[in-house]
Every structure is written in C-alpha cells, then in structure tokens.
C-alpha cells in the first residue's frame, strides 16, 4: 500500500513542479522618449494634478505649440487652461505674473527666449524681485519656459542664449535641461516651485529621443532644482556644461577615452542656484576644469564657474588654469559654415581638454 501511494505522490510533485514554471519573458524594450514628449508629459501631469496650473503663450493651444511641445493639451484641457495669446509678450507676461500673484500657477511660454527680452521687465521687476521687496508677503509661483540659444540657420536675432542674463538675477531660479529625463523632471519641479522659474529648453533637442528610466515614468518624478548630475565618471578632467552641449561633451569624452583620457562630464541641469558642491568635488578629484556653453563668453556661465572655483577650496587642487569653451563673441551668422563655427563643436571641446591637460 505504501509503495502504491509513493508512486501516486511522485507524479503529483512532478505535476506541481511543471505548474510552478513560468513562461520565459524577455526584458521590455527600453522606453525611448523625445525631449518634446517629455516636456509635454510633464506639463500634462501637472495640469491634471493641480487645477490652478494653466499654460499661456503664442500658438500654444490650437496650433499645438509653435514647436508642438504642447500638442494635445488644448484638446484635453480646453480654453480655460490652455490660452492662445496675441503677439504681446510684455502684456501677456505681465498678465501671467499678475495671475500668479493672485494665486494661480501659470506656465508662460515664450516662443523663443529672444522674445522674452520684450517682456524682461515683467520677468525681473515684477516676478523675480517681488517676494523679496514685499518682505515675504507676495509670492509669484510662475514658470517661464521656451527654447533658448542657437537653433539652425535662424540668424542673429533668434539665436541668443539667455542663461547668463537670467542667471544673474536673485529671486529667479533658472534651469537648463539637456535630455528627456531632465526635461520632464525639471518642468515638473518648476511648476511645483513657489518661486519664479525660468526653464531654458533647446529647440534642436526637442526631437532627440533618450532612454526613459522607469522612475521617470512616474507621475511624481521630479528632478530637484539646484542639483547637477554627473553624466559620466572620470578621473583626468572635469567638463561642466548645460543644455545641448552636454551631448557634445559626452561625444568628446568618448573620443578621448580611446586615447586614455577619462573625462568626468557634469550636466549642470540648474543655472541658478548653481550646484558648486558637485563641481568643486569633481575638480578636487580631477585637478582640471573645462566649462562648455553655447552662450557668449563675456560674463557667461563659464566665467561664473571659474570665479567661484577660485573663491573656493577647489582652487588649490587645480593643476592648470580652467578653460572656457563658449559660443563665438559675435551675433550669430546665417551661413552654415559660419554658424557651425560660432557654437562649441566636439573638436573645440577636445582641443580645450587637451590644452588644459597639456597633451
């Protein structure tokens, strides 16, 4: 009897073993999201989360955005939350700031930051300074966003980088995303921040896809304002950049790696408040510094980084003077060959790194 029951038991164990096996699944394909879609997602999630958030600017509603960044939002949220404005930057920026003072949370889009110059008084004098001037009584929870810096063939009046101009002003926070993760996380943080935040996007990056890590797919994914990210670890030299040039720095680093030079590439993510801690720690490790930006050299972001390095503990760790790679000190020319040579290219970054390292 025991022998028979033993025979019966075994097959049951074998059957349950079979049942325990799962189907073999391949890992899901990495999610690719363009910078444009990342910003769109970020705004969509924040519009859904908080009724007080709304978007205004030229062509943001029925045109789906001049660069299609706000695609689908008007259809989803309607006229009250997505507002097309006339071509009146000073007027609608002021209206957005006033709405923020009265408790709403506007996202004010400038078609490009070049046009923000017409409204810059509202950004600085009405938005940035108010919390301080009022002794902390009146906050202005507004986001100014739009493409900044050089594009392709749009010439002098449409290619200026405003990172240094806005980064100069106390009372403003200024962020400059590079990839999709940056773009989504920073726009969400900016919208949730009770201070005026300037988000400097980049038109040439809008269409570029990046891998979206799983945490970035969450509706509460935020990239903190004021914290830089080390995109690539290295030991020989620190290369600090923001926005599109971060990609060029990584390309330069890949080329130099083959020659045995390991670059540490830092993506600033935030212009103001600047994360000097991360930059200093890196320079204290590598002893060399190159800054890379698209804007003009005089009084630029790189100039500020160099000054602060000199004022801080990292100065004593430098084995060579820091070098800035910047846009050329000219109004942006139109002809492609001239334009290409007016912005930092990979070869310029490599040249600067080699010069600093004396190789």
């Amino acid at each position: 009897m025991a022998a028979v029951s033993g025979l019966v038991r075994r097959p049951l164990r074998q059957v349950s073993g079979l049942l325990k096996r799962r189907f073999h699944r391949t890992a899901p394909a990495a999610l690719q999201v363009t910078v444009r879609d990342a910003i769109n997602q970020g705004m969509d999630e924040e519009l859904e989360r908080d009724e007080k958030v709304f978007l205004l600017g030229e062509e943001v509603a029925q045109y789906d955005g001049a660069y299609k960044v706000s695609r689908g939002l008007w259809k989803k949220y309607g006229d009250k939350r997505i507002i097309d404005t006339p071509i009146s930057e000073m007027g609608f920026a002021g209206i957005a700031v006033g709405a923020a003072m009265a408790g709403l949370r506007p996202i004010c889009e400038f078609m490009t930051f070049n046009f923000s110059m017409q409204a810059i008084d509202q950004v600085i004098n009405s938005a940035a300074k108010t919390y301080y001037m009022s002794g902390g009584l009146q906050s202005v929870p507004i986001v100014f966003r739009g493409p900044n810096g050089a594009s392709a063939g749009v010439a002098a009046q449409h290619s200026q980088c405003f990172a240094a101009w806005y980064g100069h002003c106390p009372g403003l926070k200024v962020v400059s995303p590079w990839n999709s993760e940056d773009a989504k996380g920073l726009i969400k943080s900016a919208i949730r921040d009770n201070n005026p935040v300037v988000v400097l996007e980049n038109e040439l990056m809008y269409g570029v896809p990046f891998e979206f890590p799983p945490e970035a797919q969450s509706k509460d994914f935020l990239v903190p304002i004021g914290k830089a990210k080390i995109e690539r670890q290295g030991t020989h030299i620190t290369v600090v950049s923001h926005s599109r040039p971060v990609g060029h720095c990584l390309e330069a680093a890949a080329v130099l790696s083959k020659e045995g030079v390991e670059c540490e590439v830092i993506n600033m993510r935030t212009i103001r408040p600047m994360d000097m801690e991360t930059i200093e720690a890196s320079v204290m490790k590598t002893n060399h510094l190159v800054t890379v930006e698209g804007g003009w050299p005089q009084f630029g972001v790189g100039a500020e980084i160099c000054a602060r390095i000199m004022e801080g503990p990292a100065f004593n760790f430098l084995d060579a003077p820091a070098v800035r790679v910047t846009g050329a000190d000219v109004p942006m020319p139109y002809a492609k060959i001239l334009e290409d040579n007016s912005i930092p290219q990979v070869k310029d970054i490599i040249f600067a790194i080699k010069k600093t390292l004396n190789i």
């Binding site: 709304f54 009250k80 507002i83 404005t85 006339p86 009146s88 000073m90 007027g91 609608f92 920026a93 002021g94 209206i95 957005a96 700031v97 006033g98 709405a99 923020a100 003072m101 009265a102 408790g103 709403l104 008084d121 509202q122 004098n125 009405s126 301080y132 001037m133 009022s134 002794g135 902390g136 009584l137 009146q138």
Partner: protein, 352 residues
C-alpha cells in the same frame, strides 16, 4: 465793563473746551443721511452712466472724512520725515488725491483687488494697512509692512498688489489678477490704476486688448492729475481723453476731487464688470499738491496760482466737509475734532 467782558469771554471760551462741546454735539440732531447731486460723467461707448444723485449717510460721511484726513496727515508727515532725511530715496505723495483712494475703496468690497503704481501710500492705507506699518516701512524699520525691504513703492496688503515702481508694468499685472478672478469664478473685480503719464505706455494697450478679448473683470483707472512728472498732459498725449483711449473698451470720465462722484462711478464700473461684460475704463480727474516726488518742488512746470486755485476751490476734504455741514450731517466742531485727532498721532490710527 471791559474787564467784565474779558472775564466773560474767558469763561465762555473755557466753556467751549472739549467737555462742553461734546455736550453741545450730543444734544444736536443730525440728519441720518442726505442726497447730493454729483457731476454727470462723460461717457464713451456707454448708453448710460452712473447716477447723478447719491445718498450719503452720516456714518459713511464721517468715515470718509476721517479716512481722507488720515491720508492727508500721513502724507504731510511723510513730507516732514523726508525733509529730515528719515525717509530716503523716492517718496511720491498723494495729497490732493484723497478722494480717489477713499472713493474707490467705498465703491468696492474688501474681497476685490487693487493694484497701482508708485503714488501708493493712500491706497496702502485704504486697503487696510495701518499708518504705523506704512510709516515704519517708509522709515526702513523691520516693523514696516515689508520689513523695511520694500520702501515707499513696494508695500503690499491682502488683495493689494502694491506699489509698483516701473511705470505701466502694473497694468498687465492688474489684467492678470482679473484673469485669476474670472478663472476662480468668484465674482471679484480688479481695479488697475495708472497715471496720465503711464497711459502712453504700449503695454497698457496690450493689456486693453487681452482684457477685452477675454472679457476680464478689470476696471482700468487712469488717475489723471494733469502732470506726468514735469510733463503736462497736453505735452505728452496726442489725445488727452484718457477715458476714450481704451478704444473698444467703454469708458467714463469722473470728477476725481468729489469723493461721492468717485464712489458712484466705481459702483457703476464694478457692477458692469461683475455682470461679465468685460473690462471698463475710468478716468479720474484729480490733482496733486506736491511735486512729482519729494525731489520736485513742483513749480517749474506749473504755477503756484494753479495749485492755490485747486486748493481753494476743489480740495476734496473741504468739499466733503462743506457738504456735510451744509446738510446737517455733521457739525463744524465735530469735523474739527477729527482734524485734531488725525494730526496728533497719525501712527495710531488703523483704517476704521
């Protein structure tokens, strides 16, 4: 005989000291209210305007009188403090324009919103801050409403958005506050003030356009005191009909020296906006006794005779006083008491 008369007069004047006059006041019967005729407003794109008569109660009359006198005394005190160098930088005084700030406040609710430019001390008071907080701010003390960090041009209160230093910038801000009112669906309006000088700023026309397009509950108010700094309106504007400059926006021109006229016009304008018809424009014709700011004596571009004429014929406090006394709403002595009260310790009086 003479000695006796002197003695009697001494006794009588002694008798008219406070206690006796209070008894006198209490025993008089004042009217509870009176009806007054007010100037008809010039209209632009409006079929009807505010009423040409209004009822003033004794209570309201005394309140307005007290408020106007407080603003007057506060501004004169600021003048003194500035000359003693205790107030620094910019100091733009609004004495002469009291009917504007008090009259506008009388026509709206505390839940409505108001924003103005730099000649803002009067509005800061009427919107609810105490004279003490205002003077403390002007003198850079941390007990000031902005902890001393703002100064004359940057004072804020609940539903009062300053105090703005950049000429004209406050107008789009005001339209934005009106947008928030409409967005929140709360039936509130925003009074957006600017001067005759600012009226030529481009951003104001941008704000007019968007306010009209989106039917924002914004009352644009041009406080026309005839001079933008040292430039008279004739020398600055191709059209000095400021109430018409909104073009597609209906407008009215109001006697800004008559507090009752201002009150009625404001009630009318607020009702218009609250009904969802969109923005409206009010031009308040008023006058400032001081120069543009404390650095301006105010007589190089206008005559002393002109200033004197306005003071003697159109002073807003005097106009209210005459009306109240002549219609038995108050006595001369009663109003004089308020004058004395307000001149002694301006820092003590919060808006009543």
């Amino acid at each position: 005989m003479r000695k006796m008369l002197a003695a009697v007069s001494r006794v009588l004047s002694g008798a008219s000291q406070k206690p006796a006059s209070r008894v006198l006041v209490a025993s008089r019967n004042f009217a509870n209210d009176a009806t007054f005729e007010i100037k008809k407003c010039d209209l632009h794109r409006l079929e009807e305007g505010p009423p040409v008569t209004t009822v003033l109660t004794r209570e309201d009359g005394l309140k307005y009188y007290r408020m106007m006198q407080t603003v007057r005394r506060m501004e004169l005190k600021a003048d003194q403090l500035y000359k003693q160098k205790i107030i620094r930088g910019f100091c733009h005084l609004c004495d002469g324009q009291e009917a504007c700030c008090v009259g506008l406040e009388a026509g709206i609710n505390p839940t409505d919103h108001l924003i103005t430019a730099y000649r803002a001390h009067g509005f800061t008071f009427t919107r609810g801050l105490s004279v003490r907080e205002i003077l403390a701010e002007l003198t850079g003390r941390k007990g000031g409403c902005a902890k001393g960090k703002g100064g004359s041009m940057h004072m804020y209160a609940k539903n009062f958005y300053g105090g703005n230093g950049i000429v004209g910038a406050q107008v789009p801000l005001g339209a934005g506050i009106a947008l928030a009112c409409k967005y929140n669906g709360k039936d509130e309006v925003c009074l957006t003030l600017y001067g005759d000088g600012a009226a030529n700023q481009g951003q104001i026309f941008e704000a007019y356009n968007m306010a009209a397009l989106w039917k924002l509950p914004c009352i644009f108010i041009c406080e026309n005191n005839r001079y933008g700094m040292g430039t008279s309106v004739e020398r600055a504007a191709a059209s000095t009909d400021y109430y018409k400059r909104g073009d597609f926006i209906p407008g009215l021109r109001v006697d800004g020296m008559d507090i009752l006229c201002v009150r009625e016009a404001t009630r009318f304008a607020a009702a218009y906006c609250r009904s969802g018809k969109g923005p409206i424009l009010m031009e308040l014709q008023t006058y400032r006794y001081h120069g543009h700011s404390m650095s301006d004596p105010g007589v190089s571009y206008r005559t002393r005779e002109e200033i004197q004429e306005v003071r003697s014929k159109s002073d807003p406090i005097m106009l209210l006083k005459d009306r109240m006394v002549n219609s038995n709403l108050a006595s001369v002595e009663e109003l004089k008491e308020i004058d004395v009260e307000r001149s002694l310790e301006p820092g003590r009086w919060r808006m009543q």
